[in-house]
């Protein structure tokens, strides 16, 4: 090994075209999983604050399980474990999306619960006192306000989930980290390539942060 190791910018740049082929998969898995996770989060977050215990406890069980176990274990379970149960293979990308959806869904459930519960009780009373139904009071008054308060926490979860997709290199999804590993296997330029991989993650997460900041600023009008 060369002691006077020089960072090889050319090697770093040269790896980019190959690494970029991983980006669509990283984006597909993270945003596909997050979109489904958001739906799960809305449903289970609201179940969690239902007045009916029968609806509350399944939501609590789901949240505790998927928040309390590692995403890596979840995806291994789905990719290697579930096929034994259903008798057929599961596509690695599907397994990745499912793992993100279930894991982020558990966290987002708690974000939704917190967001909705943070709205002052007077808002609900004002809606009801005007004759709005409970559903309309939620839809037009509680939810829009709760959603605005949830944006920062949702942004955090988005960033966490994007980074979590890097774990799925272990099940062979051709996402960013996996592409890096494949490339390094032939070029042995680990330093350069992993730096590039890191920068690409940063580019994705910073774009998301920026977009959310715009959204948040817009949402602050009238608050």
């Amino acid at each position: 090994m060369d002691v006077n190791f020089q960072f090889d910018w050319q090697a770093a740049i040269a790896s980019l075209p190959h690494l970029l082929t991983g980006i669509p998969w990283t984006l597909l898995i993270s945003f596909g999983g997050l979109a489904i996770g958001f739906l799960i989060g809305i449903i289970f977050g609201l179940l969690r604050i239902s007045p009916l215990r029968l609806l509350r406890w399944p939501a609590t069980v789901y949240i505790e399980i998927f928040r309390g176990t590692p995403v890596l274990v979840q995806v291994l379970f789905i990719f290697y474990g579930l096929p034994q149960l259903i008798g057929g293979p599961i596509n690695a990308v599907v397994a990745g999306i499912a793992a993100i959806a279930l894991n982020a869904g558990a966290y987002i459930s708690e974000i939704v619960r917190g967001g909705v519960q943070s709205i002052e009780k007077g808002q609900r009373e004002a809606g009801l006192s005007l004759g709005l139904s409970r559903t309309d009071t939620f839809r037009y008054i509680i939810w829009p306000q709760a959603l605005r308060r949830m944006i920062p926490a949702l942004g955090n979860q988005g960033i966490v989930s994007i980074k979590d997709t890097s774990l799925f290199s272990v099940i062979g999804v051709g996402e960013l980290v996996r592409q890096g590993q494949v490339y390094i296997a032939t070029t042995f330029t680990a330093l350069e390539v992993y730096l590039m991989v890191a920068l690409l993650y940063l580019a994705i997460t910073l774009s998301l942060s920026f977009a959310l900041r715009l959204l948040e600023r817009k949402g602050l009008v009238g608050q």
Binding site: E120, G122, Q123, A126, L128, L130, G131, L132, G222
Partner: protein, 256 residues
């Protein structure tokens, strides 16, 4: 639909033997009360006496455990089992809250048009027309596109009044409407309420503004420990209180 709405002398609100508990605390004890159409009733009492709870029972924001409440022919039964009549009552009873409770994510205009559109099914143009008229009436018409947080407390409370009136209620409830306001803004809200009273609106008002109560009330009700201890005209209750609780309360609030 029923006799009470055809009979103009029938009370708008009837409470019969209404009891309510918060845990072991008996916050409303055998409340019997009738409010006639067009009557302005001011409810006074020390904080914690149950006066807010009383008016919050009228539109079902609080449940009660026994007795019954009939609002404009619609009956509320104990334990919040109002069902359809609860919904009907809420469309016909407006409420103004101590903390205004305007919808902060909606413009002043949208605050007022929301319920007429979603509950009454009015189209936007018609709802806006009503909102314009009401905002004009409470003196907020030039602020209609602002958001609640951009208004002063007094302005916000006047918007809240317009919002409630947009449903064309038969009865208005006021739960300490000026208690959260800076002193210099109390007058403008009381003016708007006075105007409403003069137009014949039926009103139940919980307030600490004794001067206002004396001026606009047809009847003053004094509540102590969840009971109606004394009631009568403002002159009777304020100038010649019969009950020692009333006397003690008035001597405390009228001193300054």
């Amino acid at each position: 639909m029923n006799d009470s709405q055809q009979d103009s002398t029938a009370p708008i609100v009837t409470m019969e033997k209404v009891n309510k508990y918060f845990g072991s605390l008996h916050v409303m004890q055998d409340i019997d009360l009738e409010i006639a159409a067009g009557e302005v009733v001011v409810i006074v009492g020390a904080s914690g006496s149950g006066k807010s709870t009383l008016i919050r029972c009228v539109n079902g924001l609080e449940e009660f455990q026994s007795g019954r409440i009939i609002v404009d022919g619609n009956e509320l039964t104990p334990h919040g089992k109002g069902g359809k009549s609860l919904q009907t009552i809420r469309t016909e009873v407006g409420m103004v809250f101590q903390q205004f409770n305007l919808f902060p994510h909606l413009s002043v205009h949208a605050n007022v048009t929301l319920a007429p559109e979603k509950v009454r099914g009015l189209n936007n143009a018609k709802a806006r027309e009503i909102a314009d008229r009401l905002l004009e009436r409470v003196g907020i018409s030039n602020q209609a596109d602002k958001y609640p947080s951009q208004l002063s407390g007094g302005q916000q409370q006047r918007v809240a009044l317009a919002r409630a009136l947009a449903m064309e209620p038969r009865l208005m409830l006021f739960d300490e409407p000026t208690s959260a306001l800076d002193p210099e803004m109390i007058g403008e809200v009381l003016d708007a309420m006075r105007e409403l009273a003069n137009e014949g609106m039926t009103m139940m008002i919980v307030t600490h503004e004794m001067g206002f109560a004396r001026e606009v009330a047809d009847r003053v009700i004094f509540v102590h420990d969840g009971r109606i201890v004394e009631e009568g005209t403002p002159q009777e209750v304020f100038d010649h209180p019969q009950h020692e609780r009333t006397q003690a309360f008035l001597s405390r609030v009228l001193k300054h």
